[in-house]
Homo-oligomer: 337 residues x 4
């Protein structure tokens, strides 16, 4: 930690900072400059809250130097992490497509979905079983029955399954039916849930919150990794900005930034990222061109009558055409689908 004192900070103020840091286990090195005194704190706890020093008298600014995340940082595993599930490798040379409906609605729908998704070359089927909706009168999901149907449809077509876990109590159930546990954007900082996910040995896809910085996403991943579960994938799905034409602003640049800062695979979700079906194909292409390790997309055999998220679900034909374009773009960036 580096503490930069204000111009004109008194000796007493400087001493109080030094005492405070020593009290918390830091070794303190002092460097007196022409204008500013800088204190370097070494050791101490990683968890030390720098804001405590920041508001002390005479302090100009405080910089933390040791990364607040270690296990999630690229330096921890420079070659990158490949999450391997039943022969599907995520984070390797393949760009892995995960597609399917927002929610599992009935057997016919999920069976058709499996065919649409698999025929076009996706490796993973997505579908929600629990849908906590903004209205208590809306469709709330089929629960375990839906998971069972999706598992059967997936097995018939050799697909993996990804589905969302809403809270810790659902972990055993979801683990029984799903190959990847998805953590939604609103749960990105649900630390109790993150801790529990760290204790299991099941791949997790962690979505970025709509108001979360990239650093905060990596900190949440650290929480899972520190529990011993190393099979973590990250997911960009749009951030909230002043622009309203798209529901969120899909931060494509998060893809290469995360590739640089972390060894974890990064998946892009252009369906939630834009909220509009007509924007999914261009943004899916953009994400692959920017280096995404995979895509998560909503596809429905009849989006106009989907029970949820119809506006952002693709029709089957444009989805199949998109997959063709994505293959060419993957090639351009040295990968394959």
């Amino acid at each position: 930690m580096l503490v930069v004192m204000q111009q004109g900070a008194t000796e007493a103020q400087i001493q109080r900072i030094i005492d405070r840091l020593i009290e918390d286990g830091f070794d303190v090195h002092r460097s007196t400059g022409a204008i500013h005194t800088v204190l370097g704190g070494v050791g101490g706890g990683d968890q030390f809250d720098t804001a405590v020093v920041e508001v002390m008298d005479g302090v100009k600014e405080v910089h933390r130097i040791v990364s607040p995340y270690k296990l999630a940082s690229r330096a921890f595993r420079p070659q990158g992490t490949v999450v391997s599930i039943k022969g599907v490798e995520i984070g390797g040379s393949q760009v892995v497509v995960m597609a399917g409906p927002c929610s599992v609605e009935n057997r016919d729908q999920i069976e058709r979905s499996a065919d649409i998704v698999a025929d076009a070359g996706a490796k993973v089927i997505r579908g929600g079983a629990f849908k906590p909706r903004s209205s208590p009168y809306s469709f709330q999901g089929l629960g375990e029955e839906g998971l069972k149907m999706m598992r059967e449809a997936a097995d018939r077509r050799g697909l993996l399954v990804i589905s969302e876990v809403m809270d810790s109590l659902q972990i055993p159930l979801l683990s029984a039916y799903s190959d990847i546990l998805q953590i939604g954007a609103r749960n990105m900082q649900n630390y109790n849930l993150l801790r529990d996910l760290g204790r299991i040995r099941k791949p997790v896809l962690l979505k970025r919150g709509i108001a979360a910085t990239i650093e905060e996403l990596l900190l949440s991943a650290e929480y899972i990794l520190s529990g011993g579960n190393y099979e973590v994938m990250l997911c960009e799905r749009g951030i909230r900005t002043f622009e309203t034409y798209t529901r969120n602003t899909f931060d494509v640049s998060a893809v290469p930034v995360i590739k640089k800062l972390s060894h974890l695979p990064i998946i892009a979700d252009p369906s939630h990222g834009t909220g509009r079906r007509d924007m999914v194909p261009p943004m899916a292409r953009a994400a692959v061109a920017a280096g995404a390790d995979g895509l998560l997309m909503e596809v429905h055999h009849d989006p106009d009558h989907a029970l949820s998220d119809g506006a952002q679900s693709m029709y089957p034909e444009p989805y199949a055409e998109l997959m063709q374009q994505l293959r060419m773009i993957a090639t351009a960036v040295g990968r394959s689908i």
Copy 2:
């Protein structure tokens, strides 16, 4: 709902929209203008997802007219709601101050806190018992033991207690010790929790998420109200913007806007709103001047050694001085503390 068709939308496109709306139970009125055709949909479900129509061919824009919230709107109770708890009225002529430490740390601390808080004129003591922290190694709260201590300290000084409930499982425990259940910003859209809070008969303080619009806050309140629990208070505690000097941007204007749109009391939390102890007094004054029904503030007898949120906790003396200023400002806006 009003659907505005694009200039040059075809008759077939218009008919498809009409059919779609009728299918969902709307009566449709058509108005053909010189440039745009406008379709008015009446009836239908409040829960209809307008985005479904928005992405259909030929549509320019869609406006929902019936408020998505009804029970939370000012029109539902024009005179305003007063939440009355053991003689303390929130939402009436008094500005109610809730203050105390971030977390209950030990008996001595919470007893001192009760004295500091009560001596200066606050009516409610705050303090967390469960602290899900970004690090698994940080202080996690005293749990039920802490709640017990806080209740005893509060009773000794005739204070009400407010404490945060993290998930539905904690509702019974918190209800036993606390007069007001606080819902944190990260849980503002935890619909399972909101539904469960609608079923109890205990006052709830619902905090605005850092990326939530005022309308979304009111929608979350609606969720609780629709369950039959009418004792809901809202809380502004800062939104995320590009400005970084303060941890969040404390949206003071949310106070008068919420007073206008809703009948529910609005409390302001300048401690979380700014993240800096030196900014709490001016922003507390601003919130009262803008019409807040109450304040929620962090105060600690020794902020430098607080186990959490020390940087935004006030020292006792400035807190007492602030209370004096607040009394004068409350008078200026026709209220009292």
Copy 3:
């Protein structure tokens, strides 16, 4: 314009709105619903400020229906605009690359730049002659001398020239040396400048402001078009959000959104969009994959010693490699470079 009255609006309030609209030349149609009265205003001025009605008593919300932009809208020229300059077509099947240094520094530098840029396949060279810098002590640009040098270098290699015009007084000078006049993000709403650009007959590239919505960008374009200058190109170059790793958040989704809403060509500037040289290649690829009609990028033969914007200027080799990848991606989306 549609005016939705509040539930319970009085007859007198409704009448005042009707009178106000008639006063401004609108025909008013009234529709009384079960809950809300809706007033439709037809005719009247496009320039009518809807906020005036929005704050009147009894009004719930106001929606403007006629686009505030007409000449810039896709409906005005559904087939799209192709700006053709000396045989280079922007907005057609080619993706046009514009590259070069931030500023023209000296003859050697701009001549080398022309070679680097042209050898890799760009059609336009960029370079600033006037650099209003945040410090009065920084390099301020070579002025006309620099423009002359760039023109000569461009002519030698058969390149077009794009350079920024800072204010109306510079229009004649820039027009003499440059094929495209660039309007910077800070000038996007400099209406005097926009009006003057509408009067000339020279292609203009208009950059989106960092806090401007897509609609506001189109409104600014309308300003130029309404003066009779139809050769307008738009440029996405990043918006300001809470994320700080990149200097701005490069809003790639603005590319397909603008293609949908407008007939004007859209160029992407990943150099300013990210502010980091290491992020330019992935984001340039993303922009082309999303459908951009062109790219604007900073390249320097020695970025470490560039007099401005060195951190976001690419080295020549990565730039040349990027061009190869871009060709493959352009093919994937049915275009060429």
Copy 4:
């Protein structure tokens, strides 16, 4: 400047940074830690672009230590600046109110305005003479004629005049009629204009841009101060966020933050800050309670027929009532109006 190297940065990478810094005139001190090497650069230019080092190989992060602004910082004049104009002191114990119409429309209007404004206790009348509007067909202001009218009305009532200068060419004209030159939010980073304002000896009120951080506002002020014009006032008038109910989010916390970081007076403009007349009184009160040195507000004798900004202009009566409340709040914070 502090350069923190990545964990595992090579000796060659470190040396390249050292060489680069020395090349730019820095003395470099190296500190090798257990995990990170930190390089301290002393001397060198204030204008050095840290981003250049930030993108070099092996660099983790770079922190600039010397404030990018000096003359604008609180340390430069700890007691604070009082701008004194014809007996009116801005930045002293008085809270100075500046009020009036958005634009000067005709003699009758500005004379009435002067009476409304002065009767309620304002010291300065505001009014625009040049209105660059988003439509070429809208009212563009009366120009010099309007300035003359406003000057006469002001003199009759003993008011100071504030009016906006749009570009450098207007400085002489505005200086002839106006006591304070206002710089609009869109011109906050118009460096040519700022430089020219630094050369005159006339008080300037500089408005914060809607996407500008507080630090950027202070940097722009530095530009004027460095030219020798020390009579600079700053103005908060709302920033752009995701919240849309108010036109901008009025960042009240900028008031105490600027008081802390700078010695310059800070004025608040709740009219532009909220864009809604009904939100002006609560936010004006909030700004004074937070410590603003003055207010800038739009008042019109007939807002419904104002030629510009009618929706955010107050009626005379609520304005007069507001002034009464403001007096009490000013007293509460130890000031007067």
